[in-house]
């Protein structure tokens, strides 16, 4: 019973990832796409968590943390890029 619930949850997650991907392709503006990517990242976190419960393993808990950080950094990078055109600005030496 428990496994069926988990599998169902995964299925729903996958579905919403696919919907996000549709937004990724379609997204009329760049921020739409970045938001889609961010939400994919968060869905992935949940997915990995459910998978590690399914596998009965705690080896993947690191990945959840890492994904959280990376998804944040990635979104920030895209956001900076869209806002200013560059990801890392030069110092004041020029």
């Amino acid at each position: 019973m428990f496994e069926i619930v988990l599998t169902l949850a995964l299925f729903i997650l996958t579905l919403s990832i696919l919907i996000s991907i549709y937004r990724l392709f379609k997204g009329p503006s760049m921020p739409d796409r970045v938001m889609a990517l961010d939400s994919i990242g968060i869905h992935l976190i949940s997915g990995v968590a459910i998978l590690s419960v399914l596998f009965r393993s705690h080896a993947f808990l690191d990945i959840i943390l890492l994904l959280g950080i990376l998804s944040f950094i990635g979104t920030i990078a895209f956001a900076r890029f869209i806002e200013r055109g560059v990801v890392i600005e030069r110092g004041n030496d020029q």
Binding site: I21, F60, D62, L70
Partner: protein, 801 residues
């Protein structure tokens, strides 16, 4: 090392020492020191004469590369000794002549004599070697030193052209000859000529026999300037005259003759040999004599006459080889041709050497070699006139000189061949005497032109750069010695017959000679036979043609310049140049796309072909794990994203899609239970996506510029091909697991041996730590590289601003 080896190596040793003497003694002409060398060797060779006369041979061996069956075997028999004596004897005379010909102050004598000595040693090595590879080594040495000598005046364009031409043609032949030698080695499993000769009857059965025969003949024909490879010889006349006299009349051009004679016992067993050697020789004879008449340069006439005389010797060797195919009694009549070839070889060396020296003297004393400017030199240069008279009459084949005797023997051989009834000679054999006779008429005509146009008639003193006068006596010694030999051997030919010609014939046709000893007897008067009538006809028609010479020279204009062999050679060279240039430009077009097409195209075509050829494709589904629903979904996302990248309109979209692919792959790693990989993949994917974004700003606006259909279709074919190949390859390799994986071992010992629980990490830093170390190095190099690239570029920019 025996005396024989030292005498071959002596010129090489001397060539090393000459530069030293040239510097120490500036007052004495370097040639005097060099002269000692051939005289010593010649004297030594004379002491071998009695041995050779008894038909004994001398064999000395020095090991060189025993593991490859290559040893420096010096072998002396009649043929080798004859050539060696010609080389050293004429070599000594030529060096003596060059002492007076080459100016001490104006010329670089050290170079000249070093090249000449290298050539002499190489030539001795060619004729005295019994090992094919050693022979080839010396052979290439002769080509190389000839190249150096032709290009001796390297500031002249014609010299460089002639040197390059001779090098290209003789090296072409030399290389094919090497191929022939290796084929001989494959057949007989030895490089020794004598051992190969002893197994000749078995060799002819071998499938490589004709292959090696053609290759060896190519080498001999290019070296001996046979049709159509004779074109380098007239251009080699840019060399100093002593060189032309020595290399391009008496010695080097006879290396091919030597090779044909030396290998006759092996190859002459085939009927093709008789026909090829005989016919090419007779064609060369005709073509050379026909072309000699149109030359204006004295050396040009002599060059074509050398070509034609070499053809004559070659054809006689071919006719002599017919003796091996004669089944009746008394094959001596055919062996006579071989004896005639040897005799004419000696004669040609004497009269052609003296004629070249005469031309050198004329050039030296009048300043020109153009026959149209010369004339009436008889009164100015009486001694030279006499020498030239004897030399050119001997070449024309007039009695009482030696050229008459060998020409008679030649005619007799052609008549014998025409009457032969084997090797299908009964139908085409008549060609030999007819062509030979016509060629002899032309020979007579150009000899007369050479002699009478130069020495008789009115002197055109106003056209000559210098006032003509007799040459110094030192310059005249060598040609006088040579023409004395012309007369002596003309009057007493039999002094040569037993001492040198018979052993040489025995060396060329050992089996026949052993069965039926052939005694050479040459006499001036041998009855009113067919050949005498032919000679009388030659003289009669020759005189008529010479008298009416201006009337018929128009025939030379019939042949358009475009279709000559020389222009074929030049065109061939420039086409090769142009063609290779075009070819290289065609595929090396600097376009990375095209290079990738070549690389990927070749990869998948070769792999697919090999899989098809070896019938390697297999699918074995026994070890496949069941496919879960998550894998299918992830694979679907992966494929969709990958395909979408191809159709992305903007660069940012493709970067985001690439990130999706990377994250999906990490998710696959999670699914396949590889936490470390998944961790790394997530981080790396993020970093590389950021890097793409970093570069984004600097990249030009994205435009899929290639709209052409061909371009897209090529890309698609290549991409599909590579994808298909790799898929098939992966399936096949998965289906053919030949042995168990090593991973069971790691599972067992990770904790017990290395004290770690994380197997991936233990493998990375413990079991296979070396790989990790170098991957760290790779990262460090990449980091340093990026740092330097950015830094240096900034500094350069700063410098220019």
């Amino acid at each position: 090392m025996s005396m024989l080896h030292w005498s071959i190596l002596l010129p090489f040793i001397a060539a090393f020492c000459i530069p030293l003497t040239g510097k120490i003694t500036r007052k004495i002409h370097t040639g005097w020191f060099v002269l000692i060398i051939p005289v010593i060797i010649f004297t030594y060779l004379c002491t071998l004469l009695p041995t050779i006369k008894e038909h004994a041979t001398i064999m000395e061996s020095v090991s060189w590369i025993p593991s490859l069956d290559i040893s420096f075997d010096a072998y002396v028999d009649g043929l080798g000794l004859l050539f060696a004596m010609l080389i050293t004897g004429i070599g000594a005379l030529v060096i003596l002549y060059s002492v007076f010909y080459m100016n001490k102050e104006k010329e670089n004598l050290v170079n000249f004599y070093v090249f000449l000595l290298l050539f002499m040693g190489a030539m001795l090595g060619v004729v005295l070697s019994d090992n094919l590879i050693v022979l080839y080594t010396f052979w290439e040495f002769t080509s190389l030193s000839s190249f150096l000598l032709i290009g001796y005046w390297n500031d002249r364009k014609a010299s460089r052209y002639g040197a390059q031409k001779s090098l290209l043609i003789t090296f072409l032949g030399g290389l094919s000859m090497l191929g022939g030698f290796i084929a001989l080695y494959v057949m007989g499993d030895t490089f020794s000529i004598r051992e190969l000769i002893s197994m000749a009857p078995e060799l002819i059965q071998h499938p490589l026999f004709y292959f090696s025969m053609v290759l060896v003949l190519l080498g001999a024909f290019t070296k001996s300037a046979q049709f159509p490879f004779h074109i380098w010889l007239p251009d080699a006349m840019e060399a100093p005259t002593p060189v032309s006299a020595y290399l391009h009349s008496a010695t080097m051009v006879k290396a091919g003759i030597y090779l044909v004679a030396r290998l006759s016992p092996i190859f002459a067993l085939s009927a093709e040999w008789v026909w090829i050697v005989g016919l090419i020789g007779i064609i060369t004879l005709f073509w050379g004599s026909f072309n000699a008449i149109r030359q204006h340069d004295l050396k040009g006439i002599l060059a074509f006459s050398t070509v034609s005389q070499l053809g004559m010797i070659m054809s006689m060797l071919g006719m002599g080889a017919a003796a091996l195919h004669y089944t009746g009694n008394g094959s001596n009549v055919y062996m006579a041709a071989t004896a005639a070839a040897i005799f004419h070889l000696i004669n040609h060396a004497t009269f052609k050497g003296s004629l070249f020296m005469v031309v050198g003297i004329i050039d030296h004393e009048t300043g020109t070699r153009d026959i149209r400017k010369l004339g009436g030199l008889m009164t100015f240069m009486p001694i030279t006139f006499t020498i030239a008279a004897i030399g050119s009459f001997s070449m024309a084949g007039l009695p009482p000189f030696n050229g008459f005797l060998s020409k008679e023997m030649f005619f007799k051989s052609t008549l014998t061949i025409a009457n032969a009834d084997f090797l299908s000679l009964e139908t085409w054999g008549i060609l030999f005497p007819v062509i030979a006779w016509v060629a002899s008429v032309f020979t007579f005509v150009y000899c007369m032109i050479l002699f009478f146009k130069t020495f008789t008639g009115k002197a055109k003193l106003d056209q000559l750069p210098k006032k003509p006068h007799e040459a110094p006596i030192g310059m005249l010694i060598s040609p006088i010695v040579l023409v004395s030999l012309v007369i002596i051997w003309g009057l007493f030919p039999n002094m040569l017959a037993e001492t040198i010609i018979e052993p040489a014939v025995a060396a060329i046709q050992p089996v026949l000679y052993a069965a039926d000893p052939y005694h050479v007897h040459i006499s001036m008067w041998h009855g009113l036979s067919g050949e005498l009538w032919m000679t009388i006809g030659v003289i009669a028609l020759g005189i008529i043609l010479y008298k009416t010479y201006p009337a018929w020279t128009g025939i030379y204009k019939w042949m358009p310049k475009r279709y000559t062999l020389n222009s074929a050679y030049n065109k061939g060279l420039s086409w090769a140049d142009f063609g290779s240039n075009r070819l290289t430009r065609g595929y090396m077009n600097g376009n990375i796309h095209d290079y990738l097409v070549y690389i990927f195209g070749f990869t998948f075509i070769i792999l697919l072909y090999m899989m098809w050829r070896l019938d390697a494709f297999t699918i074995n589904t026994t070890s496949v794990t069941p496919i879960g629903v998550y894998e299918v979904i992830l694979a679907f996302i992966l494929v969709t994203a990958s395909i979408m990248i191809l159709f992305a309109k903007s660069r940012l979209t493709s970067i985001i899609l690439l990130g999706t692919v990377g994250y999906t792959v990490s998710l696959l790693f999670v699914l396949f239970r590889a936490p470390d990989l998944a961790l790394t993949q997530f981080v790396i994917e993020t970093v590389s996506t950021s890097l793409f974004l970093l570069c984004f700003y600097h990249l030009p606006k994205y435009k899929p510029k290639e709209k052409r259909m061909r371009f897209k279709v090529t890309n698609m074919v290549i991409a599909l091909g590579v994808g298909l190949t790799m898929t098939l390859l992966a399936l096949t390799s998965h289906s053919t697991k030949l042995f168990e994986s090593i991973s069971e071992y790691y599972k067992k010992v990770t904790y017990t041996e290395a004290g770690g629980e994380n197997m991936v990490n233990v493998i990375l830093v413990d079991f296979r730590g070396l790989d990790t170390m170098f991957e760290i190095t790779v990262l460090a190099i990449a980091a340093i590289g990026i740092y330097t690239m950015i830094k240096l570029r900034l500094e350069r920019r700063g410098g220019t601003e």
